[in-house]
C-alpha cells in the first residue's frame, strides 16, 4: 500500500454502526433458541471453573475452544463476511485459537486455578465474569435492543474477554494462547472506535488489563488446589 501514512482507520471501515449491530440481530434470529442451551452450558462452565475437578482443564478448554470454532464459522464466515471481506481472515484466526485451546486442554497443561489470594487470579476471574455477564449487559444498557445481544460462547467480544480471563489462571501455556485474543481485542476496539461506538473501551481495557496482569508464572501454584 503506497502512501500508507495518509490512511486513517476510517479508510478501512466498510460498514456503518447500524449495519454492524443489525448483523448481531440477524445472527441471533438465525440461531435462536441456541441461546438457552448456551446460557445453561456457560453456567456449568463457570461452575466447573470455580469448583475445579481434576478433569476441569480438559472440559473448560474443550468447551472454550469449541466456542471459538463456532464463532469462526457461525458468526465470521456465515454473517460478518457479508459486509466485511476481512472477516474471512478473522475466521482463520478464531479457528486457529479454537484448535489451540482444545489441544491445550487435551494436553493437560491448561489447568485453570482460581484463587482468592493472588491478584492475577482475581483479575482473571474478574475478566471471566465481565465477559459472561457485564459485557452483554453494558451493550444492552447502551441502548441497543436486546435482540442485538452479544453473548459469551456466541459472539466474539465476550468470548474473547472471558478467554483472556481464563488464560490468567493457567501456567506457561498462556503465552501460546494469548496473542490471538489480544490481537482480536485491538481489531474489535479499533472497529468500534472508528464506527463511533461508545463501547470500544471494553475489549481495549480487557487486553490492557490482561497484559498488565500476565507475568512469568510462580514456581508454586497460586492456590491451595
Amino acid at each position: 500500500m503506497s502512501e500508507w501514512w495518509t490512511y486513517r482507520l476510517s479508510d478501512f471501515l466498510l460498514f456503518s454502526a447500524d449495519t454492524y449491530y443489525r448483523l448481531f440481530e440477524l445472527y441471533n434470529t438465525a440461531i435462536w433458541p441456541a441461546h438457552i442451551v448456551v446460557l445453561v452450558l456457560s453456567g456449568l462452565w463457570f461452575y466447573f471453573l470455580i469448583r475445579p475437578k481434576p478433569w476441569s482443564g480438559k472440559l473448560l478448554f474443550t468447551f472454550l475452544g469449541t466456542t471459538w470454532l463456532w464463532i469462526a464459522w457461525g458468526y465470521h464466515v456465515s454473517h460478518f463476511t457479508s459486509v466485511n471481506w476481512a472477516a474471512s481472515y478473522y475466521a482463520i484466526g478464531f479457528a486457529l485459537e479454537g484448535l489451540l485451546l482444545i489441544l491445550a486442554g487435551g494436553s493437560g497443561k491448561a489447568r485453570p486455578i482460581p484463587s482468592n489470594t493472588h491478584w492475577t487470579s482475581r483479575v482473571g476471574t474478574g475478566l471471566i465474569g465481565f465477559g459472561l455477564i457485564l459485557q452483554p449487559l453494558i451493550v444492552l444498557l447502551s441502548g441497543r435492543p436486546w435482540t442485538q445481544i452479544e453473548l459469551f460462547a456466541l459472539a466474539p467480544d465476550p468470548t474473547v474477554i472471558a478467554t483472556l480471563g481464563i488464560l490468567l489462571l493457567v501456567g506457561r501455556i498462556r503465552w501460546l494462547l494469548l496473542p490471538i485474543p489480544i490481537i482480536w481485542c485491538l481489531i474489535s476496539s479499533a472497529t468500534l472506535w472508528t464506527m463511533g461506538a461508545s463501547e470500544f473501551w471494553m475489549t481495549l481495557c480487557a487486553a490492557g488489563v490482561a497484559l498488565f496482569a500476565v507475568r512469568p508464572v510462580h514456581k508454586k501454584p497460586y492456590s491451595v488446589y
Binding site: S2, E3, T6, S10, D11, L13, L14, F15, S16, D18, T19, R22, L23, L26, H79, S82, V83, N84, W85
Partner: protein
C-alpha cells in the same frame, strides 16, 4: 458548460417499464443540471450517488429495501450515475438487488472499479461485478486507486475497443499518489478521473483539474462531504442569508453546488443511506449554480466558521 436538460421520454418510459408487481418509478420530468462528458458530449446530471459504507448492508433484507428506496428516489429525481467497487463489501450486490426491484432503470449510468493486484484476474473481477449489478455491461470502469493501473488500463481499453465498455477511468482519493495520477492523465487516453474535492479540500484545483480540462477528461468528485464529517459539522452552523444567491436552500446544496460549479467538474457522487438526504443532495442538480465570485464568497464563509 452546465446544461439544463429535461429527462427524455425514452428514459421516463424505461423507468416506468418496471414489472407491475413492483411499485413503478414515478419519474418527475424536471429541469436537471447536466454537464457533457468531454470525450463524447453525452450529458450527465451533476449529482450521482456513491455506495461506500451506505450500501454495504449484506444480506439484511430490510436494509436492502431501504437502499432500494434511496435508489428509487435518486432515479425519480433525475439521477443517473451510481458508483461502486468490489472493495465495498456487499454494495455491488445490494445495487444489483435494488436495480432489479426497480425494473432495471434505463437511466442508470453504471460506474464501477477494478480493484485487484493481479492484472490477469482483472477481467474476471469485472465480469463478477457485472453479474452482481445485473447489467449487460458497465458504462464506466475505473482503476481503483491506481492499483496495478498499467495492466488494468490495457484490459479496459481492450474492452472499450470491443464495445463491452463505454468509458475508461482512474480514481484516487484524499490527495493520494497525485504525481503518478497526473502522469497517467498526461500519458493515457482517459474518459474519466475520480478525485476528492470539497470546499475545504481544494488541492486538485492546482494541477489535476486544469489537466483534466486541458485533456478533455470528465471529472467525478468523491468524498464531497468528507465522509459525512463536513456536512454534519456544517449542519450545526447557520446557513448564510445569501445562500439562496448561490442557489442553495440547505447545506447539502451549498456544499455540492460549490463542487459542481467548478468548470472542470462533471459530477459529484455523495453517498447516503437516507431518502431525505438523497432528496437534499439531488436538489443540488436543480436551480442555479454559483458564479466564480460567489464561489469565493462561499469559501470565505466556510473557512471563517
Amino acid at each position: 458548460m452546465p446544461d439544463r436538460s429535461t429527462i427524455s421520454r425514452r428514459t421516463a418510459l424505461g423507468l416506468l417499464a418496471a414489472p407491475l408487481i413492483r411499485p413503478a418509478l414515478r419519474i418527475q420530468p424536471q429541469s436537471i443540471i447536466t454537464k457533457p462528458i468531454p470525450s463524447t458530449g453525452e450529458a450527465l446530471p451533476v449529482i450521482g450517488i456513491g455506495s461506500w459504507i451506505t450500501f454495504n448492508v449484506g444480506n439484511d433484507r430490510e436494509a436492502r429495501n431501504a437502499c432500494t428506496e434511496v435508489m428509487r428516489n435518486f432515479f425519480e429525481l433525475g439521477g443517473k450515475m451510481i458508483d461502486s467497487s468490489p472493495m465495498y463489501g456487499s454494495a455491488q450486490e445490494v445495487i444489483g438487488y435494488g436495480l432489479n426491484r426497480l425494473g432495471n432503470p434505463d437511466a442508470l449510468f453504471s460506474a464501477d472499479k477494478v480493484w485487484i493486484t493481479s492484472t490477469a484476474r482483472g477481467a474476471s473481477q469485472i465480469e463478477n461485478s457485472r453479474e452482481l449489478w445485473g447489467v449487460p455491461q458497465f458504462d464506466l470502469m475505473q482503476v481503483h486507486n491506481l492499483r496495478s493501473w498499467e495492466g488494468h488500463l490495457e484490459t479496459l481499453h481492450a474492452m472499450k475497443a470491443s464495445g463491452s465498455l463505454r468509458y475508461v477511468g482512474i480514481t484516487t482519493s484524499e490527495g493520494r499518489r497525485h504525481s503518478l495520477f497526473e502522469e497517467v492523465m498526461q500519458t493515457q487516453p482517459l474518459d474519466f478521473i475520480q478525485v476528492s474535492y470539497n470546499i475545504l479540500n481544494r488541492r486538485v484545483e492546482e494541477r489535476i483539474l486544469p489537466i483534466a480540462q486541458e485533456r478533455g477528461i470528465a471529472v467525478i468528485i468523491n468524498r464531497p462531504f468528507q465522509q459525512g464529517n463536513l456536512i454534519r459539522r456544517m449542519k450545526r452552523q447557520r446557513l448564510p442569508d445569501w445562500a439562496s444567491e448561490a442557489g442553495a436552500t440547505n447545506w447539502a446544496e451549498f456544499l455540492l453546488k460549490f463542487i459542481v460549479s467548478h468548470p472542470a467538474v462533471t459530477c459529484a457522487i455523495p453517498a447516503t443511506s437516507q431518502v431525505r438526504h438523497v432528496k437534499e443532495n439531488m436538489a443540488a442538480a436543480t436551480g442555479e449554480l454559483p458564479t466564480e465570485a460567489m464561489r469565493q464568497r462561499m469559501i470565505d464563509y466556510v473557512e471563517a466558521l
